[in-house]
Amino acid sequence: MAETPVLVAEDLAKSFDVSRPLLQRLLAGEGRRTLKAVDGVSFDIPKGTTLSLVGESGCGKSTVARLVVGLYRPTQGRVLFEGIELEKARANPETRRRMQMIFQDPYASLNPRWRVQEIVAEPIRAFGLAQGAAALRDRVGQLLTQVGLSPLDGEKFPHEFSGGQRQRISIARALSSNPDFLVCDEPTSALDVSVQAQILNLMKDLQARLGLTYLFISHNLAVVRQVSDRIGVMYLGRLVELAPAETLFTAPRHPYTRALMEAIPDLEMTGRQRIPVGGEVPSPINPPTGCPFHPRCPLADARCKAEMPKLLPPPGQPGTIAACHAVEEGRDPAPAPAGTDQRIGTTATAL
């Protein structure tokens, strides 16, 4: 039997109450409003691999991340950590040490009154991972160096750092408890490219050496391509395509995935007009009927407006699953042959 995946998400859903205050509701004669941030999301992440989630802002990526580490309770579905229900697994301090999260917002996640030294040392101390003050200081210095800061920076407070530098502090803190499962929500979005390269190399290196498992969230497709084994594309709270990383780039199937690939900025400066995904992003408060992408989809037909498509493998492409009637019916344009890219031009070779 295959090894138990480190993480399994089963049919996860999370709703938020976004009703206006009672008085205003009564005056306007409206009821409660709920927003389904995440709906029916399932995936698993085998040990030592990286699953990435991509998708438009507001599509629910961070909400999935928070469900996976137990910061939100799911409205429906469940999360299993090494086969054990999350809440039960997290009752064990050892599990809490082993799973860590790097947040999207490096400002909100650092205590402004603590020195960097204390911020990074806290998990080490809490989990009893270093013996004595000298060992603790050494370990903090080592972590700061790993993320491209200096051990001397430990003396400073978070506000003395720029945005990118603060993100490096939160990465050092997340690594300080020697986790083996890391949820990274846009870990490098606040970083410049040279530090981003260092952090991505560090993450890959840790994975190769220590077998770490990652749930990685980013909207930068070039970054995602560098780190992922598999990629899930989310739209309006749902997974619409899940595929091996290389397949997603060489043979994207869902019309939304294809549109995302088209919208990537052009370093070649060929003057190509970026084609933004057409149409309006629908509101998660009143999601469209049927396929949530239908108001913007060039392939939408009557069935799409009425019936929600299921995640199924496209004919002849068993590694992928896509939620699209056109793909299922075989009426979408053929994917590009493997090996050729959706986009012409490279970045590095051009320089």
Binding site: V18, G58, G163, G164, D192, N220
Partner: protein, 333 residues
Amino acid sequence: MAAILEVRDLRVEFPTRRGTLTALDGVSFDIAPGEVLGVVGESGAGKSMTGAAIIGLLEPPGRIAGGEILLNGKRIDRLPYEQMRRIRGKEIGAIFQDPLTTLNPLYTVGRQLVETMQTHLPLSDRDARQRAIGWLEMVGIPAAAQRVDSYPHEFSGGMRQRVVIALALCAEPALIVADEPTTALDVSIQAQIIALLKRLAREKGTAMMLVTHDMGVIAETADRVAVMYAGRIAEIGPVRSVVKSPKHPYSVGLMSSIPPLDRRVAQLSGIEGAMPRLSAIPQGCAFNPRCPHVFARCRQDRPELIETGTTRAACWLYDPASEKRAPEAVQHG
């Protein structure tokens, strides 16, 4: 045409217990009407600091210790707080890196937009509200008419950032200082915002300083690019030259750190080491401990911007008087 923004020899200092740190040193550039200047560089290089100095919001104890900043020919670096505050809403629109500090958590986004517009433009309540909804639509907030009465915390990170962008644009300023405006956004919304910013620059002649580390966004949006390193401009020139054939060794390293989109690589190339701390900037060229081309002169004298043919770069390789000249690899990027 006369520049909208002129920055001359700007110097920003932070007095600390351990002595005075120089965060910006000798920074000079112009932005013409309708022009977008991209500013790139490693985090901590001083990009945000440059923007904060221009809009008069340096965090104390930071202060402008030298140089001048002119907006439409008038000095704005020594103005009293109240006067600068008025300029900030009306003539300069600011989009910050951190959306939460710009938005007031206690007011709905609609109210914040309406108040900003009414402070600077003669608009009735009803017109201002209509325009507020219009701006939310323009930055891609779905169901804008319904969400105009929401509070900032009810929006996702990326949606809050779009509200901040709408706030900066809604009073139709002459200069926009945008610090990582699209960093929190995915590519499709990013494309929409970039198109909006470009259209404003073109149609209304708005000048824009665009700080971002997203080289794709720079390539698409900027007319010129300034590369910053350790509080100085390392290279400045037309976007095509700086991105495609950078001349300064630091710019070369920065451009080659961009992850390729068309394939997976085992190891991303980057620049070894880290930028020096402000308290320990080496003598001579600040990049010299990391530079693959370093030679004797680099460790002694600090280079000023030197003409390279396509750009201006602060690097001794381009000084005809140096004992060493730029190798082919750098010359041709």
